[in-house]
Symmetry: C2
Subunit: 675 residues, 2 copies
Amino acid sequence: MSTSVIPKSVNPDLQKERDGASFNSEEFAAWWAGGEEPLKFIRNVREYLYKDVDLNEMLQIQNMSHEDINEFSVRTSIDAAKKLRRLQEERNPGGEDYWPNLYDSREMWGLTPAGNPFGVMYVMVVKALQAQCTPEQYEDFGKRLERFEICGTYAQTELGHGTYLRGLETRADFDPKTDEFILNTPKISSYKFWPGGLGHASNYCLVMAQLYINNQSKGPHMFFVQVRDEETHEPMPGVHIGDIGKKMGFIGVNNGFLGMKDVRIPRTRMLMRHAKVNADGSYVSSPTNVLTYFAMVRTRCLIGRNSALILSAASTIAVRYSAVRRQSPINPKEPEPQIIDHVTQQLKLFPEIATSLAHRLASEYLWDMYEETLVDIGNGKYERLPELHSLSCALKVTSSMDSTAGIERLRLACGGHGYLTSSNLSNLYVFATAACTYEGENTVLLLQIGRFLMKSWNSALSGAPLAPTVSYLAEVQKNPEFGTWTGTWENMVKAMEYAAANKTRLAFKSLSNRLLRGESEGTAANHTGIELTQAAELHGRAFIFSSFTAEVTGPKSKNRSAAFNRVLENLLELYLVKETLNQLSNLLRFINLTDSDLTSLQDRLETVLTKLRPDAVAIVDGFDFNDQQLNSTLGAFDGNAYERIFDAALRNPMNQKSVPKSFHEHLKPFMKSNI
Amino acid sequence: MSTSVIPKSVNPDLQKERDGASFNSEEFAAWWAGGEEPLKFIRNVREYLYKDVDLNEMLQIQNMSHEDINEFSVRTSIDAAKKLRRLQEERNPGGEDYWPNLYDSREMWGLTPAGNPFGVMYVMVVKALQAQCTPEQYEDFGKRLERFEICGTYAQTELGHGTYLRGLETRADFDPKTDEFILNTPKISSYKFWPGGLGHASNYCLVMAQLYINNQSKGPHMFFVQVRDEETHEPMPGVHIGDIGKKMGFIGVNNGFLGMKDVRIPRTRMLMRHAKVNADGSYVSSPTNVLTYFAMVRTRCLIGRNSALILSAASTIAVRYSAVRRQSPINPKEPEPQIIDHVTQQLKLFPEIATSLAHRLASEYLWDMYEETLVDIGNGKYERLPELHSLSCALKVTSSMDSTAGIERLRLACGGHGYLTSSNLSNLYVFATAACTYEGENTVLLLQIGRFLMKSWNSALSGAPLAPTVSYLAEVQKNPEFGTWTGTWENMVKAMEYAAANKTRLAFKSLSNRLLRGESEGTAANHTGIELTQAAELHGRAFIFSSFTAEVTGPKSKNRSAAFNRVLENLLELYLVKETLNQLSNLLRFINLTDSDLTSLQDRLETVLTKLRPDAVAIVDGFDFNDQQLNSTLGAFDGNAYERIFDAALRNPMNQKSVPKSFHEHLKPFMKSNI
């Protein structure tokens, strides 16, 4: 099957959309990429990386067996690594612009559509080694990993334990006689389970284990353990290692399990920049856990950014498809319209575009705060850490939750064809939803945020100063009346903060009542869990309201054209209105909105959808994905959706012979059996 | 890998739950199955069907290639058919108790876990032939299909058309010279696309095509078309047929495409019980479209029932897993509790149990109404058809939407391990979500319900009588004040109806205003689309409120033990409270709830979760799934979740050799390249 039924031209319905937009999508693209220079850089890189990629092969990966998909992923991930290194040498030898900085970035998605088993290695392990190794250790094995002379992953989660670190069962006992640690996973539930790349794509592993000295627990520490032979790749003695089997997503990243029975490693393979075990068995505890803590903040900022990106990719696919599919006349005897002209369809599409922006901007705001705090920490100031931790959790939760739900709405908006794996929407979905669970399960994080809000509320009651992003709690305590709903953007931000503050107040009241009734702190917190998570969610939403509004209405708007600012204003308007309507029950409980206020919100929703209609395609063009990154028969730039769906179907392996084996072996004998 | 790490005993945490329940789960099981006799029958059948099923094989299917999965499905579906026929012969020769009635039923799920490519044949095609064939036609080919001498599917959807039947492009031109129809799919967009079993598991096909006589369109009609040779299974001349490739779910059902180029069939292969084409080319149109219409009602009732079942299966898995997983102490230094003791976890689990019941009971209420209407139709009375159509759409939409969202919540409640395909939760999810799109896309159906509500509202305004299930609209017109919120169950049902009626009123007002402003009916309806769908959704919810309350509080409660009634009352309480909270913004807009009313709802929610806690495992046991039907490492009856996860991982094909090919071919050379 080498000929293709796909036309070389752009679908006229899509071209018409592009010609009719009110603004220049290139201005959007530059803004979204962080400036014209970054956009140029990225496009250059992509041109180099993608010139020989066969989209036809990429569209077929879901048809392969689990084993073949994993082989495919190793191959494509190594190919991608080679390309990036070559680029590095050509353009910036000795630098880091390309390799490894771009490895496992969004720019690589289309090269490794079944995932990158070496992603964890660069996103987490190298970073952890840099932070936790002594200089000697980093020289000894950190650099080898950085140079990809060895490969490894980060193993913390066990079959029986995930979120609750102190419950981990893997243990590392110090043996002073041999100056070694002895690692063991004593039960099935103690097996390391889930690390990406662990299955068959690692020969080393950064293992989180309970340190024991003289059978005394010193809590969880990190150990660098060799799990496979460097030459043969056979498991090391005492190591039981393998792949955990198919998952919803990340289908080629080789998530693995690891059991250890008396696995011995030199004492110097415990990461000892902070805590230490000396040869005589004496233990020096870490002076601070700030850095570990801080690494999580960084990862959660990245999750927010990533969730926004995945949602913007799904939006691109669904919007383009909605512009080329025609269905169901609006008036009898009229031709069938582009489905993007149905208002109910617009309600499925455009809010997700707005949400992509909202989460992306909140992530950037948080990233700035992260960098400021980094400087503070350097100066020994740790005050903003709890706030930053809490806010990064809130953004992680909201962005993973909303992007997951949004992608699913977009997938459903594509009807039956959205259900094809070749639409890639299901793959984006399973990619996004995983973030609801990893790096802190969302409900657990919401409860942590809830506790932070309780503390902040209590501080405010006693007149203590609050961190800037929770200062609204004190304001609401001082002025318990919301005042008048005016429906301006500023007023809507204030309303969401007001709702968050009042939910916090109610949760605080419930919690206090339970404590007064004699419940322990833990029990009372558990019983107040529902209200705590609700307050926490609203806190996150209030933050996103505020950062999106600040970006659009703030001083940066002066750097943008009037036409582009109008588009951003429409997206902000849509975001604030739809989220206000989503959270209406929380608002109505505390704020008096009249029937005409509510009618006006409904009108605003319908009005802004109409305003966005002519610009929808140009906006998603501005997200600037290439066809390989989208990897979708529905969402290609040329809009030839039906031909691409059909072409991908024809190429699927089942169609390479006309009659399957099962006809002769099972179906025909049964039909002829005449029972 | 033949030894197993799975203990033979039940996990003590699960056994403790069973011992501590307040009621007998066998009473639940009999009630859920429709009585003790049906329960006994089903268990008997299952014992026979499942005795030789290898659960280990079933847990590995997602690791196979698309091609192998499809071979597996044909094999297992034929095996299942053989078993059922044998059972028929042994126990009730000549009857229909077993074959084909049970084929493709819930009881077979565990036998064909990748789906049944012959499902559509029995669920739809045989039924359609019975309804639409002349007796001669049914004798000629209908019976052959019924006896499985041939196999076939139903082909309506095209690449370019789904919901909008009149837009179908496949045409059947009558040729009076040869007394044949000539079938053509003139464009790529006209290809039939999606029918289950069409790919490689059908030799006949019931094709929906536009009938043309002398190039004049007579609208869509059904044609019985041979697509493959009965002996060789090769495609017939002019037939282009194949598999559409991998989808999110139904991974083994062989969904296919069909292109036709001048395919000729005898005139007698158009289904002619109602409309007719005579040999001279004269056309007799169908006297009524009631039956076609009515068949859809039946299918939608079945979807409601099925969605409830899938949700109950997912609930079973998640509840059992939550009883055996222990994580995160509630109070410091306490042991880690079963996660089902965390209140936030209860909020994820128990509402879905309640929703399963609510949807199941609504489906049964609707089914009774369907059967009454069937009698009415026999007597020439068609009055209740629009109501029944609208209500069946509402239930289809609500049950598919809620069960999809519910399964996903349950999956997330299982944390990382829920993401494993061996949990089977992802498979249940993709099975459930497909129902949001097929048999009428949900938004399209909501718009149809919305139009029915507009008509009903208008009738009520003019004093015309309304159908029983919309009579509340007239009552609200007569008594526009809700009165006092008391929070009793009856009051909550009334409140949901009141909200639905008021949303209907607002939509009617918006629609009327648009018509007054000169918009056409179609345009006005499109612009009012959002409000119409909102009103429609509430209408469905009000119906479910009412049917669930009627079952629990009505006369049937006398046939149940007091202990069991208490459980049902708790589930009703939970359902009404959580849905009221979910719809609070709609209620608060029209009904005055004080702050203490709202606090009381929150208290009721927390209270009923606590009440249900000791009975949760016994309730899901009452759903009476066997392990093969659940096909889940997390949800087995014995609760040995970790061992089952681990065992399934060990058996996955990637672990049958210690070093994969890609190490030698790609990974090692790169690591050694030292670039």
